[in-house]
Each structure stands twice: as C-alpha cells, then as structure tokens.
C-alpha cells in the first residue's frame, strides 16, 4: 500500500544544504525521482502480482507510476518499468575545523 499522501509535508523540508542553481530564498530539493526497471517472478493471480510488484518497487523508493511492460511466460517473469521517488541524501556539513 502506498503511504498516505499527507505523510510527507513539504513544509517539513527544512534540511540545510547548498546547490549551485538555487536562488537565495529557494529551498533545496529534498526529493528526487528515478526510473527503475525490474524483472520479478510471475504470480498466479492478478492480485498477488500487483502486491508483488508494489513490494519489489518499494525497495527502490516510493512508487509513483509503474506498469508491467512484458511477460515472459516461458521463464515465468514479468518486466516492470516504474518511476519511484526517494529522499535526496542531505548535503554534507562543511567542516569548520
């Protein structure tokens, strides 16, 4: 199940950091998306297939959009393409020492 849409408040994006394309008053990015391609075992029912895909994608981020793009019946595999989102790692703090 996808997390509640309200669980990631934009106002909570307060981490510090610098990025070269930022205006001084623009908050830094905290989220990025990735294109993911997975091959996972073909399940024997559509409900199990849907749950298996969601679970596999969650290892890569928060699934935003996905679909089965091919089914390899001979090898019992499905190919899934997806866009997932995940938090950007915080910028390292500058050493003042």
């Amino acid at each position: 199940m996808t997390p509640s849409p309200q669980t990631r408040s934009i106002q909570s994006h307060t981490q510090s950091g610098t990025q070269s394309d930022l205006k001084p008053d623009v908050q830094p990015d905290t989220l990025q998306s990735s294109f993911v391609t997975l091959e996972i075992p073909l399940e024997d029912s559509p409900g199990k297939m849907e749950m298996a895909i969601q679970a596999a994608l969650r290892q890569w981020g928060d699934p935003l959009r996905w679909a089965v793009m091919a089914v390899d019946v001979a090898n019992q595999l499905v190919k899934v393409e997806a866009i997932v989102t995940h938090p950007l790692p915080p910028e390292p703090l500058l050493s003042l020492g």
């Binding site: 990015d29 559509p46 499905v78």
Partner: protein, 368 residues
C-alpha cells in the same frame, strides 16, 4: 474552441451500472494515444452506462473537450488508489482550480497560458483561484524505454509541490492544473511520427509523473498541459494529432475537466462509504474496458482480482504485448470498441452476451 453549456450531474451512483474506461498514456495506443482521440469512444460508452469513470488522457483534447454529465475525470494515480479500495470518489458540482505555471516557461508563452485561463473563466464561467509560478524551472526530461513506452522525470519535484501548497493553502484551490515547459525538438523522428498519428506520445510519461506526484502528495485532482512552442505547419498532419495544433495552449480541456473532477476521500475516513449517495467506492465498478495488449497496470490488476468484468479491446493496439491471460486475468476479448459497447449493454441488461450470437455452446453437466 467548443463551448457547450454544462449541467450538473444528477446521478444516484449506487446501484448504477458503472464502467471504467482505461486507455494508458505513453504506450502508443492506436486509439487514444494522440490528441484526445479516444473522446469519441468515451462519448459512446457514456451513453451505454449510468456512470463512466475515465482519466484525463481519454478526455483531454487540448482546446477541444466534450462535457459528459455522467462521466468522472479521475487522474491515473487516483484511479490506482480507487481500484485498490484505498480512496473513494466524491462527485462535486464544481471545483475551484488553481494553476501552476513552470518558471521555465518563456514570458510570452506564459502570458498565452494566463490568457487561456482567463478565457476559460470568462467564456465558460469556470472558477479559478489564481495562478502561481514555481520558484525555479521544473526541468522536465523525457525518455523512452526499450519497450517503447514514454517516461520522463521532473528534476525539481519539490518546487512543483511547493507551488501546489501555495495554491491550496493560500488560494483555497480544490484542484490543480499544471503547465510545465517541456523540451522540444521539432525535427525528431518520434515527433514527426506522432504528428502522423503513429508511434508514442513522447510527452505522456513525464506528464503523468507531474500529475501523479501532486495527486499522491495532496490527494486532490490534478492534470497537466505541456507548454510548447507552436510547431511548423504540416500539411500531412494526422487528424488524431490535430487537436494539439489549434493554438498556443493545451490548457482549456484540463481546466474544464478539473472543474468537475471528483474529490478523493481515503476509504478509512469516508463516512458511510458504502451507503452514501455521494460517494463512489471501488465496489460500484461493474466493468473495466482496456486495450487488450496493455493489461499490466495497477488499477486493472486490482479490479481483475476483485472479479470485475474486464473487457479487452483488440483493435486498440499498443507498443506492448501484455495480454490479460498471461497475468491470470479473466477477460472478455472483443475486437473493437463497438463490440465492447454491445457487451457492456448486454451485461447491463442482465442478458448473457453469448445469447446474442448465432450459435453458442450447449449446457454441460457439472459433476459432483
């Protein structure tokens, strides 16, 4: 621009015959893969059912659209949650729409879009709360996978979400329209093919990411229109792609669709979700119509798991070969949307569709 009068829906949704029409975006659907060219299909199916649920890719034709009083405009991410039983749909009389404009849009093109929004207010009476600019260019990128599907990403999703938050919290927006600057190259083979009514809509994947993101973050209706420079005149333009070359903007259909898009209520907080006459749950869906070769989406898998009638249309070919049987989906295969409409009407009437054929198999004994 077509601008007929609107009237509010007057349906009592429970106990209605409800059908979902799915035509996935960015996979080269022969019907619906271009510029609102599945709208005729939606118009016909809407006449065969009490309630039609479909998504912006089906109903958006740039500056063309058609008001369908019994049809709900539901963004794809919300359709997935609806199918999973996580969200319900709450039809509305109207939404106040907020408009996000990508800071990467050139000033003249931005003004064209603001004027298009003003035109929709003045000519159609649609309520807009205002517009806001993203605090930096969104930087949309496009890609095409090895399967031929179009995908894309937005570099600055945070900026998109901050803009949506401004419209919702300060403007009171109940739905969000987004216009993002998309990369363009009029000379690409993919674009040339698209204008000829062939191949895949290269913009579609990134458009879906934008609307899915806002719907996931804020749980309100959202749809997207790309900002692009007008293309050079092409005398061989396909009718299926022609709607996108009528002017400077694809925004009018988006604003019209969002103005009456149902709101999304999480299942757990929907009061009397199965009895209220103003709430539609996934249980209300009777049948789902899909291209036969694109059966691998989340919503369809969930509806198939729930035992809904799945009608798979063979004529609407795609770049994929994900047929229902391979995924364990029990589907009714039909050749065309014309046949799908007949099947739906038969199902709605409670008539076994096999009885409409000249021959059908005899009864067989079911053994103990």
């Amino acid at each position: 621009m077509f601008s007929p009068s609107f009237s509010a829906p007057s349906l009592s949704f429970p106990n209605c015959y409800t059908v979902v029409l799915l035509i996935p975006t960015g996979v080269g659907c022969a019907i619906g893969g271009y510029a609102g060219d599945a709208l005729p299909v939606a118009r016909v199916i809407s006449q065969a059912v009490d309630c039609l649920i479909t998504h912006p890719n089906v109903l958006n034709g740039a500056q063309l659209y058609w008001p369908l009083n019994n049809t709900l405009y539901v963004e794809g991410y919300a359709l997935d949650r609806f199918a999973a039983g996580e969200w319900n749909l709450a039809p509305v009389r109207t939404n106040r729409v907020g408009l996000i404009l990508d800071a990467g849009i050139e000033p003249d093109l931005r003004l064209r879009h603001i004027q298009a929004a003003e035109a929709v207010r003045a000519t159609l009476g649609i309520s807009l709360v205002g517009y806001t600019l993203t605090d930096r260019p969104l930087q949309v990128s496009l890609q095409q996978s090895t399967t031929g599907a179009s995908w894309g990403q937005v570099k600055h999703l945070d900026s998109l979400f901050r803009a949506a938050q401004v419209l919702i919290e300060r403007g009171g927006a109940e739905a969000i329209a987004v216009v993002a600057r998309f990369p363009e190259d009029p000379e690409t083979e993919a674009l040339q093919a698209y204008r000829q009514g062939q191949g895949v809509d290269r913009l579609a994947g990134a458009e879906a990411v934008i609307s899915h993101g806002i719907v996931r973050e804020f749980r309100i209706p959202c749809a997207h229109a790309p900002a692009l420079s007008p293309l050079p005149l092409d005398p061989t333009l396909s009718p299926r792609s022609a709607a996108e070359e009528l002017g400077y903007t694809f925004l009018p259909c988006v604003l019209v669709g969002l103005s009456r898009a149902p709101q999304y209520h999480p299942y757990s907080t929907t009061p009397y979700s199965t009895t209220s006459h103003s709430i539609i749950t996934t249980q209300a869906v009777n049948a789902v119509i899909t291209p036969a070769s694109a059966c691998g989406g989340s919503a369809l898998l969930n509806w198939a798991a729930q035992g809904k009638t799945i009608v798979a249309v063979e004529d609407n070919t795609t770049t994929l070969s994900v047929f229902p049987e391979a995924l364990g989906i029990q589907a009714v295969r039909v050749q065309s949307y014309l046949e799908a409409v007949g099947y739906i009407m038969s199902d709605r009437a409670g008539v076994d569709p096999q009885m409409l054929r000249s021959s059908f198999p005899p009864l067989t004994q079911i053994m103990n």
